[in-house]
């Protein structure tokens, strides 16, 4: 039903009812924000990224052939926008240091025996800090696979990569993430020791 509603709306928009694009945005904005919020936490930048996604969708509207649901096509644009955003961030970042983590996140990180419950916000903080060490494609694969829980086939459809490429990148990204988390733990441990000494 939703697919046919979108199809009718798209027909009207392509027929000249430009003002109805806002309705299409309202229907899918939550979904786009949910995808992009995994890659950008700042509210203003997230809104810019979401706007960019919808503008790209607008420009490419003639290419949407309706074989798949509009949401899938839009998701693909959002994922590509996220990847471009991660690449730009990587280029503009001169030095990749380790950010300061909150106490709860640090405590969880150091505690191997009984890690205890971790708040979602702290988990995101830890992952964001560690993922700064990953390449944009590694970060994208890990996020889609482990946090969005997409299958390899879904990731392949979203990114345009072959299933083999997705699998290879996933294994590599997971290893790099683990290494980055261990480095994060080590750096913060050294920083705490230095502060204690002073």
């Amino acid at each position: 039903m939703a697919q046919s509603d979108d199809a009718e709306l798209l027909d009207r928009i392509r027929g000249g009812a430009v003002d109805e694009f806002a309705e299409l945005v309202r229907r899918h904005q939550a979904h786009v924000f949910a995808i992009l919020s995994r890659y950008e936490r700042d509210a203003h930048r997230l809104e810019d990224l979401a706007q960019e996604t919808f503008l790209k969708a607008w420009k490419a509207l003639a290419q949407f052939d309706g074989r798949a649901p509009f949401e899938h096509w839009l998701s693909r644009i959002a994922v590509h926008a996220a990847l471009d955003h991660l690449r730009k961030q990587k280029r503009s970042r001169n030095e990749i240091g380790f950010p300061e983590l909150g106490e709860d996140a640090l405590e969880w990180l150091h505690n191997d025996a009984e890690p205890g419950q971790l708040e979602a916000r702290d988990a995101r903080e830890l992952l964001d800090a560690a993922m700064q060490r990953l390449s944009p494609t590694d970060r994208l694969v890990i996020t889609l696979l482990e946090i969005e829980e997409c299958s390899v086939k879904e990731i392949s459809a979203l990114t345009g990569w072959s299933s083999i490429a997705v699998r290879v990148r996933a294994v590599r990204a997971r290893k790099r993430l683990r290494d980055a988390l261990e480095q994060l733990e080590q750096k913060n441990h050294e920083r705490n020791e230095t502060e204690t000494t002073l």
Binding site: F21, A22, A120, A123
Partner: protein, 99 residues
């Protein structure tokens, strides 16, 4: 880091709710879209660019098939495809020149 701990980290991260779009978001996008004008038509060049990887792959497969066919024919002393093509093109050229 232990695998169980990594999994716990991912599970916790999944629980974070997605932020809601601001109330004005659709209107902001609509204004931007209205400034841009009608969406660009899907030109022939765009279609070719879109199809290009498939066209390129199809061309490579065709060339490989022709080469394979020529090789097999030459192995079994069959007619040489290259020679046949040369003869045909001569006929067309010579016929065109009235010879």
């Amino acid at each position: 880091m232990k695998e169980t701990k990594l999994k716990q980290l991912f599970e916790a991260a999944r629980r974070e709710p997605a932020p809601l779009p601001p109330d004005h978001f659709a209107d902001v996008v609509q204004r931007a879209v209205s400034r841009q004008g009608a969406p660009e038509p899907f030109s022939i060049l765009d279609q070719l660019a879109f199809l290009f990887p498939r066209v390129a792959v199809a061309a490579v497969i065709l060339i490989c098939c022709c080469l394979a066919g020529d090789f097999l024919l030459s192995m079994f002393n069959g007619p040489d495809l290259g020679e046949g093509l040369a003869r045909l093109s001569d006929q067309w050229l010579l016929a065109g020149n009235g010879i």
